[in-house]
Chain length 372, copies 2
């Protein structure tokens, strides 16, 4: 079997897997709600249900159905895997607009860069769409715009097209920002939620929960002193170094933003019809974040991150990948946190610190709305 | 002089023109406002000031500085004009969400398709970002999503990536939608706001003001019976037929949305350092729209359209282009409405029905906020 045939076979098998899991998910996640609730924006189970119950069936096409954070395609209409583009979008409604470690503008640039990076792409160009509320101070807008410009410059991407809308006072909340992004895919193999194989190792690039907890502490209602800062950061150079180190041993990259590590791994388990076994002790969490979660009854694994990534890699390159993470400033505290197993498909398990085993579900409800 | 040298010279001259007008505009449009007002979202003069005073200086780069509705570029980093991609974004905050002739979903698909088409591109892929207000009925969301899916299918584009955010009740207005789009540029020459030449003819593809007036009539506060329907339509097949008919005689295409024909032509006059002389009698306006404008003291030339385009073409191909418009269902009522002149740069003039001559400015203020 030559490389081309093998590749074509692999593409077919992936497409079949996507189709099977799509049908399974659609059956499982029929949407019964009559009105939108905050939990539909959590990034967790309700968001999943809304996507599978409303958006996915209406917009269905092979690129969307893969349900990765970025779509990848060639613009010449061929199926060739090389020289694909990645395309993604995210809207940012974070509250408050300014928080320790960042602001909505920085987040809007980093978040879309990261979705491109997770597709193995070098980010090239961003679009930006603003929704401004009547009465919003222009000095704050300038501050946000300057932060976006700086974040884009530091990451080597250009904001090349944009749009501005204004709505009446009371019909928005200061400013909402959408960014979409285009990147050039450097990975010449398939990566994504449908690519996990039993035996693969799960790597996490650093401590979880910083962004979500920083936002929570920044809310006016909470008068708590804290040193927790958002971890917002552009991850494309970390991804580039992982690709260089581990090549096609990298099966899937994902930044665990809304819904946290728990939700991201559940989505992958569903997308690849595998299970994920995690070792709780190995998952890095800053003590202050762990403390806040204990007080508030939150699970750090469901809290949003903006500068971390999960890498699912072939067992043979796990140590190389971990070493590459440790050598990068954004991966210094990386760890191997789990393993992919064949059975039971679609589930995530956590071996707890006290030796128990529990099912780790997606985020249910939304304890921290408007986190990004 | 061979073709390559001539082309390079033309690119240089265009870049110089963009740089000169950018500096002139920046000087002219310094932003003095302290807070965002509805007129900053009008698409007219205040929007222009906001863009030139806040966004353009912060994000400045050669692609953005051209200030066309879509950025065009090659992803391989070369300057070659062939095989460019077009990339654009628009956010939709129209109120009401459903109106005669369309809805926010249809508008969000058509609008972004049209921005790609105006760059001479075949639209390929769209992204969609939803902001949903807590409490929004899912039945209405399904209706909007179905409308988007149908509009995309009819236009032959795929929605390949998306995002959903939810904000608290009272922090948005039902639903806001952002779409970004990627297209493949079919024009192998430069088109855009910097490309107008004295002697060029100004063509308009049909009657103006339908969309804006339809929205106005649809507002609950106005209890007026009317047959006016939004003209929302995807213009990419019309553009394809114009490109086929007139080739590089087409210097600039623009869909006169927010701010209407008056604002679009003023932007072009500024971008190309030319003046535009319009003949009021030749500008098609439906009688009902004209009547509504007279009663309400509005100028149909500043009212938004969603299915019309302006084509600025070399005089030698004006008749051919007009004929191509007439042969297309979306250009049946097209007309030649004016001429590009060298002096005075940056101005638009209207020869009125009664024989006078008046300056036609961009839209000032915002008589019809949230039109798209």
């Amino acid at each position: 079997m030559d490389a081309d045939t093998s590749n074509a076979g692999r593409v077919d098998s992936v497409l079949q897997k996507i189709e099977r899991t799509r049908q399974a998910r659609r059956h499982k996640f029929y949407l019964h709600d009559e009105k939108i609730t905050l939990s539909h924006g959590s990034g967790g189970k309700s968001t999943h249900n809304l996507i599978e119950g409303v958006f996915a069936p209406a917009f269905s096409n092979p690129l969307l159905d893969a349900m990765d954070d970025a779509a990848t395609f060639r613009v010449d209409g061929t199926d060739d895997i090389d020289h694909r583009l990645a395309f993604t979008t995210d809207t940012y409604v974070v509250s408050p607009l300014f928080f320790p470690g960042g602001d909505i503008g920085k987040l809007a640039v980093h978040g879309t860069i990261n979705d491109l990076a997770m597709a193995g792409a070098t980010p090239l160009y961003l679009s930006v769409g603003f929704i401004l509320e009547e009465g919003f101070p222009i000095v704050d807008l300038r501050r946000i715009v300057a932060s976006m410009a700086q974040a884009a410059k530091e990451a080597g991407v250009a904001i090349v097209t944009g749009d501005t809308k204004v709505v009446q006072h009371g019909k928005a909340d200061g400013v909402f920002i959408n960014t979409a992004g285009i990147g050039l895919v450097r990975a010449s193999w398939l990566m994504g939620q449908a690519q996990l194989e039993p035996g693969d190792k799960v790597l996490l690039s650093g401590p979880v929960g910083d962004h979500g907890i920083a936002i929570m502490f920044a809310r006016e209602a909470l008068d708590i002193e804290s040193d927790v800062q958002s971890d917002t950061a552009p991850l494309h150079t970390l991804v580039a170094s992982l690709i260089e180190a581990a090549g096609e041993g990298i099966h899937c990259l994902k930044d665990p933003t809304r819904g946290g590590v728990a939700t991201s791994l559940n989505e992958m388990a569903l997308g690849s019809e595998v299970s994920v076994a995690l070792d709780e002790q190995s998952i890095p969490v800053h003590p202050e974040v762990r403390g806040a979660c204990e007080i508030l009854g939150l699970d750090p694994l469901t809290i949003a991150n903006e500068g971390k990534l999960l890498a699912i890699v072939a067992p043979g390159v796990a140590d190389t990948t971990l070493q590459a993470m440790h050598n990068h400033p954004l991966g210094r505290d990386a760890a191997i946190i789990g393993t992919i197993q064949a059975e039971p498909p679609g589930m995530v398990f956590l071996r707890t610190d006290i030796g128990g085993l529990r099912v780790l579900d997606m985020l249910v409800g939304d304890p921290l709305p408007r986190i990004c």
